[in-house]
């Protein structure tokens, strides 16, 4: 179980260089457990780099990261899940085959649990098609299923809604809200802030590798710059699927 007295993630003066380029410039923050955090910022602001460092996929050039009370991130690997930009799935295998393999890496040999994870993201586990033949949106959802199949206490999602249609994105948001209610700490990097607005507890804004703002929920003044582009993108999708959700339609 997550210890509610200590931060789920604690970051101290984290700097990350790629050659001479500083992707992160001294980030310090604590994140309480059981909350849903949304990371916002322009492309290149350092959001994905920060998420990869917290998940242990990248080492910081300087500074320390503590996840679930441990600086040895590998020792808590069973307790968090990560969904990246890429789907992290084998194209030549079906969704169920992929999930069975990745669940086994966590010591889980339970087909029913894998099927349940696939159903949770709104797909049919009996689908025999290989992942390479899935649409991008379906891959994203299977990727989410892979990230949650072992029941993590902490979840990192990097652009989970890219190429996902409005209805599916809303389903994913509802699932994330439900997981947060169950006590899961969730970090979401996204450019579709409006989708996360109803469920976000806090938003973290990065700019040029620095943490420049931290607010409760997603305030309208932070939401506005994203809305024009997002609304246009959602509308073009909605033409093919359904009308815009009412809450988005009402926004400026």
């Amino acid at each position: 179980m997550t210890d509610t007295t200590q931060p789920a993630v604690s970051i101290r003066d984290v700097v990350r260089h790629f050659g001479r380029f500083a992707a992160l410039r001294g980030i310090t923050a604590d994140f309480a457990p059981g909350r849903l955090y949304v990371l916002l910022g322009e492309n290149g602001a350092g959001k994905s780099t920060l998420l990869r460092i917290i998940a242990g996929l990248l080492a910081p050039s300087r500074g320390t990261v503590s996840v679930l009370g441990s600086e040895d991130i590998r020792s808590v690997a069973t307790r968090f899940g990560y969904m990246g930009h890429a789907p992290l799935l084998y194209d030549e295998m079906s969704a169920l085959e992929n999930l069975e393999y990745f669940a086994a890496l966590y010591g889980i040999n339970d087909r029913v649990r894998c099927e349940e994870a696939i159903r949770t993201v709104g797909l049919d586990p009996a689908l025999q098609r290989r992942v390479g033949q899935y649409s991008q949106g379906m891959r994203q959802r299977i990727s989410l299923a892979r990230a949650i199949v072992h029941g993590p206490e902490l979840l990192f999602l990097d652009e989970p809604f890219s190429n996902v249609d409005v209805r599916s994105a809303k389903q994913m948001t509802t699932l994330l809200a439900h997981m947060r209610e169950q006590g899961t700490t969730i970090f979401v990097v996204t450019h579709q802030a409006a989708l996360m607005e109803p469920v976000a507890d806090e938003c973290i804004v990065l700019d040029a590798g620095r943490l420049v703002a931290r607010e409760q929920g997603i305030p309208a003044r932070l939401l506005t710059p994203y809305l024009a582009a997002e609304r246009a993108a959602l509308q073009s999708t909605a033409v093919r699927t359904e009308a815009l959700p009412a809450d988005l339609e009402a926004k400026p």
């Binding site: 998940a55 242990g56 996929l57 990248l58 080492a59 590998r74 690997a77 069973t78 307790r79 990560y82 990246g84 930009h85 890429a86 789907p87 992290l88 799935l89 084998y90 194209d91 030549e92 295998m93 085959e97 393999y101 990745f102 086994a104 890496l105 966590y106 010591g107 889980i108 290989r130 892979r146 072992h150 029941g151």
Partner: protein, 228 residues
């Protein structure tokens, strides 16, 4: 809450996964077979040896052909782990890195063994070969030599996956380090085919080489997997 899985369970799972992927894509086997077949045919046009000369050069030709074909398979081994960044999913998990290395090495051992089973009869036909020494010694040499090629190859292929020109880089680092093993496998094979000398020294050398490089690769694989 889950517990960390054992190295053997993950090795078995990863091996089954790799065999399944190869069965469906045929990436490694097809390219290896085609390449090896070309080498055998070209060599047979290049030389017209007598039966006695064939016995002397066949060991070298066979293992050079297998070495070149193995490199083709080794390049495929990690390429499929880079597609969709699947390797990140393994690195995030609590599964032991050594399990992935063992699964890849055993998988490559199976692929190269299949290649040898198909190629050796071709060599026998093209070069009119007949072993003077006991055939079971050839089997021992084949097993040890194949392991020597794939254990090194799998490790160095992992080392070169993040380099820009990895297909060139792999032979550049693999061939020099394989020279002692190549020497042992060629001399052992030639000794058995001609019956002139005992292959025991070369078999022992191959055994030691296998042990040393398996141990070193297992120890060093974790930092190689997590290198940025």
């Amino acid at each position: 809450m889950t517990s960390a899985p054992t190295i053997w369970a993950i090795t078995r799972r990863s091996l089954v996964k790799d065999l399944r992927l190869e069965w469906r894509s045929k990436d490694a086997i097809n390219s290896m077979l085609f390449f090896a077949l070309l080498v055998v045919v070209i060599f047979s046009f290049g030389f017209d040896p007598t039966a006695e000369e064939s016995r002397k050069i066949a060991g070298g030709l066979l293992w050079v052909a297998i070495l070149f074909a193995t490199v083709v398979a080794l390049n495929q081994t990690w390429t499929r782990e880079l597609r969709n960044q699947v390797l990140d999913a393994y690195r995030l998990s609590p599964a032991p890195p050594q399990a992935l290395f063992l699964a890849k090495t055993i998988g490559n051992f199976i692929f190269v063994s299949v290649l040898e089973v198909l190629m050796v009869p071709l060599f026998v036909v093209f070069y009119n070969l007949r072993s003077v020494g006991p055939w079971w010694q050839l089997l021992v040499v084949a097993l040890l030599a194949t392991w020597a090629l794939v254990v090194n190859g799998t490790f160095f292929a992992a080392l070169s996956i993040r380099t820009r020109s990895r297909e060139i880089m792999l032979p550049l680092i693999l061939f020099p380090i394989s020279i002692p093993a190549l020497l042992a496998m060629v001399d052992a094979t030639t000794s058995i085919l001609t019956g002139d000398n005992s292959p025991i020294f070369w078999i022992r050398l191959l055994s030691v080489y296998d042990l040393v490089f398996t141990a070193v690769s297992l120890i060093l694989f974790e930092p190689v997997l997590n290198a940025e």
